[in-house]
């Protein structure tokens, strides 16, 4: 007897709306590590090109150049443990492939992939495949060869993958709580990296006053801008020459350039308030207070204040500390779960006598 079956029962309930701390944790770190890898790739790429442009530089200058990059990275101690000299080869090795460096491109991509795997059912297939392919690319020995023969292409690969990943995230990830953690992590990381890019220049001590404004100096400041992909934007804004204080001003205070510290912290603040449910004028949580304070500084201070009252380096260090604090607070409050590797202890027993 013919019978018309009912339509297939649609998905009975909407997706559960609660977000597990562990899931938020993984999304947050996945996003931060990809951003970190991308920034590092760009930084190394630009500085390679810089040195290629100036073949005639003496060893001392080259050495100082790489030293400054190390100093601003915050990983100098780890480098010194494993390497003797800071030169193009050793520093690039350290930042690109060294697994002992938890902040190397390889380590970052590995960590991003591990975190993505934990939340694989939350992210789209394309997002996962992109991270996975980047990991496989770095894992393959041909990657090291590529870096040696055509560094530009090597770094371009990494930047492309990272951008693809972030683009896929923007177009395939639902705008829910998970999205907030991803964006929060990305902008927090980006803000931190911008301070370090700027800080590189601080560490380069020019041998004499005559060098200020010279070809080398200008090229180095250009490199700073290029490391933040900011050269064209800067030129559109300032048009004329590359002046150090203007570069610093642009990268710290611009409210329209998406990598400037101000812009990133504004985004951080916005997502943080959504994550923590902060909707009153006076923040309730420590993280929101710290974020608001940092944002207020970036909205009201001028470059003169920074250079004269704080000093550029101190200002950047303070910003890094504030960003660290904000990140830690939010992790503790919303993303905390016990490390599964921590073993439980058994209560000791006493013999019966």
């Amino acid at each position: 007897m013919p019978f018309t079956p009912k339509d297939p029962v649609p998905m009975s309930r909407p997706q559960a709306t609660v977000m597990l701390s562990r899931v938020a944790h993984s999304l947050y770190w996945m996003s931060r590590y990809i951003e970190r890898a991308e920034n590092l790739a760009r930084l190394l790429d630009v500085n390679h090109q810089l040195l290629l442009d100036f073949q005639g530089l003496n060893d001392g200058t080259i050495k100082e150049h790489w030293n400054s990059i190390l100093a601003s990275s915050g990983d100098e101690d780890v480098f010194r443990e494993h390497y003797e000299h800071a030169d193009s080869r050793s520093v690039t090795e350290f930042f690109a492939f060294d697994k002992r460096n938890t902040n190397s491109i390889f380590s970052c991509v590995y960590a991003a992939r591990e975190n993505a795997r934990m939340v694989r059912d939350q992210i789209s297939v394309e997002m996962w495949e992109t991270i996975n392919e980047l990991y496989l690319f770095l894992h393959d020995s041909s990657a090291e060869q590529l870096r040696a023969t055509d560094a530009g292409e090597f770094f371009a690969n990494i930047k492309r993958s990272a951008h693809l990943f972030q683009g896929l995230t923007a177009s395939t990830y639902s705008r829910n709580e998970g999205w907030e953690f991803i964006e929060f992590g990305k902008f927090l990381e980006r803000a931190d990296k911008t301070t370090r890019i700027l800080d590189v220049k601080y560490h380069i001590l020019l041998p004499s006053a005559a060098d200020v404004g010279g070809a080398v100096d200008t090229a180095q400041w250009q490199a700073v801008l290029r490391s933040a992909s900011a050269l064209e934007a800067y030129r559109r804004f300032y048009v004329r020459e590359i002046l150090p204080w203007k570069v610093a001003e642009f990268l710290i205070f611009s409210d329209s350039f998406p990598r400037s510290l101000h812009y990133c912290v504004a985004e951080v603040d916005g997502f943080l308030r959504r994550i923590l449910g902060e909707n009153t004028a006076r923040p309730r949580t420590a993280a929101a207070r710290a974020s608001k304070r940092l944002l207020a500084d970036l909205q009201s201070l001028t470059i003169t204040d920074v250079l004269q009252e704080h000093g550029l380096h101190e200002f950047l260090l303070d910003a890094q500390k504030a960003l660290d604090r904000i990140g830690d607070e939010v992790v503790q409050t919303t993303m905390f779960y016990p490390d599964e590797a921590e073993p439980g202890e058994q209560q000791q027993q006493q013999t019966q006598q």
Partner: protein, 500 residues
Amino acid sequence: MKPYLASVLLTLARLKTLPVSILSSTYDSGEFFDEMFAPGGAVRPHYGRLAERLGTLPEAEFHQRRAAVDLAFLRRGVTFTVYHDSEGTERIFPFDLIPRVIPNAEWQRIKAGLVQRITALNLFLDDIYHGQKALKDRIVPAALILGAKHFRREFMNFTVPRGIYVHICGTDLIRDHHGNYLVLEDNLRCPSGASYMIENRAAMRRAFPNLFASYGVRPVEGYAEALLKALLHLAPDHRERPNVVLLTPGVFNSAYFEHCFLARQMGIPIVEGRDLVVKDARVFMRTTAGLEPVDVIYRRIDDDFLDPTVFRADSMLGVSGVVNAYRAGNVALANSIGTGVADDKVIYAYVPRLIKYYLGQEAILPNVNTYLASEETDRKFILENIAKLVVKSANEAGGYGMLIGPASTKEECEKFRAQVAANPRNFIAQDPIMLSRSPTWCDGRLEGRHIDLRPYILYGEKITVTPGGLTRVALRKGSLVVNSSQGGGSKDTWVLQGDD
């Protein structure tokens, strides 16, 4: 063109468009009960429409549909993971397009038998963990229960919500060479495969939409809804919106796909042990908004790994304190603890007796005739005739710890005999059943392959049996092993509204 040439060309052209059907006349049912063909080759009435359709379906098109279904499974990630060493490979559970069809009258009997069985097993569990009358009345030897691997002393005297111990059961059924349905085993701990049942149905709808519509097949898509209802039934009455979660061991578990699938279908969170915390005998979930109370846990973690303070202390998958939260009545677990004592392969032999004892009824679905190595006369028989028997270890799953005597070498039989002699309580034996076969697409033609059936029974406010279930098929020629990890595949199971 010359006329005769034209007619030759025309004939050739016609021959090319003549469909070559996959139903070959050389299909051999052998001595086994064949699901589709009666002895003599006639198609059984409830397979009539299917045979018709297959008869007119060109082979090329059949291949196309197969390929489309396989691709869909791949894309949707309907996989299970097989672990060798620490590397896991994800595999698609092979799916055969020829469905297994069950007429309504047959199904009603199966359903009645399953409902009867789970009712009795539930009463048995309640008894074992309270008064133990069945032991005192010597229905089951006390030593077998007390020595059972999955008898959980820690669970004694527990009060469980609604008095239900087994909320989700997967009972494996086979058919002998007369076509009688027999119970092969019950799975009362963490039975899996329901997700494949649902995915297989979706695949068949896509592959044979018209055939499916014309047949009147009872739906299985309500499974997730029914499961959620059964879980909600366990929540305390005063909770307006009970929080139900699925507890998984994580990505490295072979059934992880199913865990995610079911959680999504039910719209409940999927959590791991470290996402839960027990405070003051209450269970909470760690969320970005703080600690959320949990009322019901659908746990897909075995008892051993559930709670390191009560069971295995080295388990990193469990939740410390969850057993005591359960004991305090603050959370419900599905299935409850200790249900493994009732799906122990040795206790299995006593189930018909338990049905008699608790319900006063004869078992509607009989057991396979079983010999118990723990009983002296049976043990002698087993040791002497091991090469002719199927011998199973009481507590292994997935087809491991099993010897199929007639298909094994002398050495394998000797090895097993020694194990049985050393630890008789741990072994049972059965006469090999000539399992029924179903036409299955194998290497370019339809051949009979052995199958079993795992229907899913949900025990909530009412006992519901999802019409159909997972038909597993042993893909290797002559093989009787249907498990996914050992070369098995599956088919869709169609329970009809009527009888044809």
